[in-house]
C-alpha cells in the first residue's frame, strides 16, 4: 500500500513565483516570506516522496470557461508548464505517474466522486508556484512525479468545503489502497484571505486566517462546515480557494504533527500562508 507521508498547504500567488524567477527573494518586500519558507523547505528536502498529488485551480491558462469541471484529475505522463502570456516560468515540466493516476481515478469514481479525467493539461502558476515553494531549485526535474487534482474555485458554485474534505478523505483511502509501496506527499494550495475585485478589493482577514491555520491541523471538520457564503464573507471572494487545503487535510490522518507554519501579508494582494504536516505515525 501507499502512504501519505506529509501534507503541505501553501498559497500559490503568481508574484511569489515571479520573485523567485527574478532573483528578488532577498528584497525587503519578500525576504520575510521566503525566510518563513526555509524550515519547511529544509524538512521537505529530507523527506522526498515517491509521488505527490497537488490540489490546485487553474486561472484561465490550462482550461477555459467553455467547460468548468468541479474536480479534475490528470492521468498524463507529462504536464507542460503553461505560458500565461509572457513566456513560461523557467521551471521544468511536470512528470506524471499514469498508473497511480488510474488507480486514483478508479477508486474515487467508485466512491462516487464525479471526476473529469484529463489526459492533457498545461499547468499554470496555481500548480508551479507551490512546486517552487516546495523545491526552490529543481534543476532539470522536480523531486518526483506529481499528479494534478483540479478544483473549481473560480466559477460559482464551487464545491462545498464539506465536499472538498470528503474528497480528501476518499483520496486518502485511494492512496492507501494502491497495490504498491509508495510514499506520497499531498499539497493543498491557494488562499489565504484575499479579494481581487469589487470595492472590498484588498480585503485581508488575519483573524480568520489564524483560526483557519489552527483548525486545519486540529479541527478540519469545523472548516468543512463553512458555507460558500461564509467563506467568501470571511476570506474574500478569492479566499474561498482555501477549500483546497481541506482536500489535502482530508487525505491525512486524524492526528498530524505540525512541522512548520508561517503567515505573511501581502504577497501581491493576498495573505500568504504555509503549513507543513508530518503524517507518519510518531515513533515514541
Amino acid at each position: 500500500m501507499a502512504e501519505v507521508i506529509w501534507g503541505l498547504a501553501t498559497s500559490h500567488v503568481p508574484s511569489i513565483g515571479a520573485a523567485m524567477d527574478r532573483g528578488k527573494t532577498d528584497d525587503p518586500a519578500w525576504k520575510a516570506l521566503f525566510d518563513g519558507y526555509a524550515p519547511a523547505r529544509a524538512w521537505l528536502a529530507e523527506h522526498r516522496p515517491d509521488v505527490a498529488v497537488l490540489v490546485y485551480n487553474d486561472h484561465a491558462n490550462g482550461i477555459d470557461l467553455d467547460f468548468v469541471p468541479t474536480f479534475g484529475l490528470g492521468t498524463a505522463e507529462r504536464y507542460e508548464v503553461a505560458d500565461e502570456g509572457f513566456g513560461r516560468r523557467p521551471v521544468p515540466d511536470v512528470l506524471g505517474h499514469p498508473e497511480f493516476s488510474f488507480h486514483l481515478v478508479e477508486s474515487l469514481v467508485d466512491e462516487g466522486f464525479d471526476l473529469t479525467v484529463f489526459q492533457e493539461l498545461a499547468v499554470d502558476h496555481g500548480f508551479t508556484v507551490p512546486m517552487s515553494v516546495w523545491t526552490p531549485d529543481p534543476g532539470d526535474a522536480w523531486p518526483c512525479p506529481v499528479i494534478p487534482l483540479l478544483v473549481n474555485v473560480i466559477q460559482y458554485p464551487q464545491p462545498t468545503a464539506a465536499r472538498c474534505y470528503a474528497l480528501g478523505q476518499a483520496l486518502g483511502r485511494a492512496i492507501r489502497s494502491f497495490p504498491g509501496d509508495l510514499t506520497v506527499g499531498v499539497l493543498g494550495t491557494g488562499g489565504m484571505s484575499h479579494q481581487l475585485a469589487g470595492t472590498r478589493a484588498g480585503f485581508i482577514n488575519p483573524d480568520f486566517d489564524a483560526m483557519w491555520m489552527e483548525a486545519v491541523e486540529k479541527d478540519p471538520a469545523r472548516l468543512a462546515a463553512l458555507s460558500r457564503e461564509e467563506l467568501i464573507r470571511q476570506a474574500g471572494s478569492e479566499g474561498i480557494e482555501l477549500i483546497m487545503w481541506l482536500v489535502m487535510r482530508g487525505a491525512m490522518d486524524e492526528q498530524v504533527t505540525r512541522v512548520h507554519s508561517d503567515y505573511f501579508v501581502p504577497a501581491s494582494n493576498t495573505a500568504a500562508g504555509i503549513a507543513l504536516f508530518d503524517n507518519r505515525t510518531p515513533t515514541g
Partner: protein, 122 residues
C-alpha cells in the same frame, strides 16, 4: 430574470461573485482576454482593438469598456478578474493598480494599505 438564482441569493456587499449567469454574460469577452496569452493575438488586438472585439462577438457595452479600459465596467459586464487581468498585464498594469481602481483609492494608497496589512471590512 424574475427569480434569484446563484449568487443572487448571496448578500456580500462590495464583492462581485462570478456565478453562472455572470459567466454567461461575459463569455465572449473572457474568451477575448484569454486569447491575449498569445503574442500574435496581442499584436492583432493592439492593431485594431474594435475589430478584434467584434471578431470575438462582444456586446457594444463590452467593447466600449474594453476600449476605454473601464475595468469596473468589464467586471460588471461579466468579466472574471482572472481573465480581465490578462488585458491589464498586457497594458503593464498590476493587480495593485486594479485594486486602486476598484476601490477608488488609486494605486499608491491601495499599495500602501496592502503593505500595512491589507484592508478590513467596514
Amino acid at each position: 430574470m424574475s427569480t434569484p438564482t446563484g449568487a443572487g441569493r448571496l448578500d456580500l456587499p462590495g464583492t462581485p461573485v462570478f456565478d453562472g449567469d455572470t459567466s454567461r454574460r461575459g463569455f465572449r469577452m473572457n474568451k477575448l482576454f484569454m486569447s491575449l496569452r498569445d503574442a500574435a493575438a496581442r499584436e492583432r488586438f493592439l492593431a485594431d482593438e474594435a475589430a478584434y472585439c467584434r471578431e470575438f462577438g462582444l456586446t457594444a457595452e463590452q467593447e466600449k469598456a474594453v476600449l476605454a479600459r473601464d475595468w469596473q465596467a468589464m467586471i460588471d459586464l461579466g468579466g472574471s478578474i482572472f481573465y480581465v487581468y490578462k488585458l491589464a498585464m498586457m497594458d503593464g498594469r498590476s493587480m495593485q493598480y486594479l485594486g486602486g481602481v476598484f476601490t477608488g483609492m488609486g494605486e499608491d494608497d491601495f499599495l500602501a494599505a496592502m503593505r500595512a496589512g491589507g484592508r478590513r471590512d467596514g
